[in-house]
């Protein structure tokens, strides 16, 4: 029982550290792609400390509670994901609960920013939801393919089966689903070609327009958690989790750097182009993957 308590306390902290490190790494890699020296790796940490010391503006009670609820949702989601061998809350819901808790974060931010009474925010939120509908179609097909392939809804079982047999990204039907998940990863993370919902130039950073000091800090931390969660889900489902957190972290690093290098060179999509892209190739791959998995299973 004590081990469980330690795991429950340790995994969100680990997720926060890894997430903030990934944010710093992202800015450094993008800078190096631009031939710039780029900020130090701990720059996001400095920004967060500064934001916590800066006063801010509040538009009402929902403006505060929404961002708190959304960050709490992200922290809880980390508890459901197996990090290496140990997974704190795996016994209470499995992939379906993960899928549904993933929608707490955008909903919380949308509710809190919505009260900011600013059209930039409303346009940003509507784009964020359209984008989430866009990448949700292939993501659901991918998760259903994994669930029907392993005939279970608990993620620990998926990881343990992969530990014994081969990684699911190599096995025949799930290779297509893995590829489709990798194609929609930037949309889930909200980075470069798909950062259409928080575009600083067009809609003055969308939902973040009215976020000042500590609100912006919580939003950055929440972005770090989303970064960690989406990549951890990919590693767990397709790269077979890991025996201990170190290997798990290395796998996540590889996936993140690979994804980032591909996507840092793209200009930002318009929202229609993003939806057309998301509903064309990734959905096709995921659909074919699901049909083959179904055929093999029955």
């Amino acid at each position: 029982m004590v081990v469980k308590i330690v795991q429950i306390i340790l995994s969100p902290i680990l997720a926060l550290v890894v997430g903030v490190f990934f944010l710093g790494l992202a800015r450094k890699i993008i800078a190096r792609i631009h031939w710039r020296h780029g900020p130090p790796l701990i720059q996001p940490l400095i920004d967060i400390i500064r934001l916590f010391y800066q006063k801010s503006v509040s538009h009402g009670r929902m403006f505060d509670l929404g961002i708190i609820f959304s960050l709490a949702g992200s922290i809880v989601l980390v508890l459901f994901l197996p990090l290496g061998r140990w997974c704190p809350l795996s016994s209470s819901g499995g992939l379906l609960v993960i899928l549904y808790i993933m929608l707490i974060a955008p909903l919380g931010v949308a509710l809190s920013a919505g009260e900011g009474a600013n059209p930039n925010i409303s346009i940003g939120i509507s784009r964020k939801f359209i984008l989430s509908l866009g990448y949700e179609v292939p993501l659901l097909l991918v998760l259903l393919a994994v669930m029907t392939h392993y005939k279970t809804i608990s993620i620990m079982e998926v990881v343990s089966v992969q530990q014994s047999t081969s990684w699911s990204i190599i096995s025949f039907p799930l290779f297509l689903s893995g590829l489709s998940y990798f194609l929609i990863l930037p949309a889930i993370l909200g980075i470069r070609p798909f950062d259409v919902s928080s575009a600083p130039q067009e809609i003055s950073s969308g939902p973040m327009a009215e976020y000042g000091g500590k609100y912006l800090a919580l939003a950055t931390i929440e972005h770090a958690f989303v970064l960690f969660i989406s990549i951890a889900l990919f590693v767990n489902l397709f790269l077979g989790g890991a025996a201990n957190p170190v290997i798990f972290f290395v796998k996540m690093l590889v996936v993140f750097v690979l994804g980032l290098c591909i996507n840092a060179v793209f200009p930002r999509f318009r929202i229609e182009q993003a939806i057309k892209y998301l509903w064309k190739w990734p959905t096709l791959l995921a659909f074919v993957g699901l049909i083959i998995t179904l055929a093999i299973r029955s």
Binding site: H34, H37, I49, R50, Y53, Q201
Partner: protein, 190 residues
Amino acid sequence: MDRNQITKWFKAPAKMANKYSLHVIYFCTGCGIIEVPPVITSRWDAERFGVIPVATPRQANLFLITGYVSVKTLRAIIRTYEQMPEPKYTVGFGSCPINGGMYWDSYNTIKHLDKYIPIDGWIAGCMPRPEAIFIAVTHLWTLIDKEMANGYVKYRENYEYYRKNQEKVLGKLEWPPLFPVSDEPRGNVQ
């Protein structure tokens, strides 16, 4: 550049964090904004010092007023400055905000910008070079260290006088005063 001295971080985290994470509000007030793109892109790369442009005043703590300030732009500058959250710093870029520069006798430009909003640092030159922005940033660091970058405190204490000057030039302002003002009747000087 004492960013890596850990002891300073533990002694005064607020000051150190403010120094090494200056987010500039990307607001083109005058002809000087043409100097900012080379500063933030690969030629001079301000991000090395933690200076990045942000979209809204709510997220910013440094306001770079670049180039001449026309009477119409002053209204937007005051509005943006008041929307920035507290520890905020302003830097006048170029000679026009200092004393009107070459438009010293024009009817339509603001001569001494610090009559209307407090300015922490000045960069002389009729469009100074991008390195001058880094000089301003380092200058701001020393000011923050010595607790002298208190433009926002000055603004809060003498808000009444700043407001009066603003209304002398701009007439009636649409938005309510930022801090409570004892509103004795003031004729608007035309």
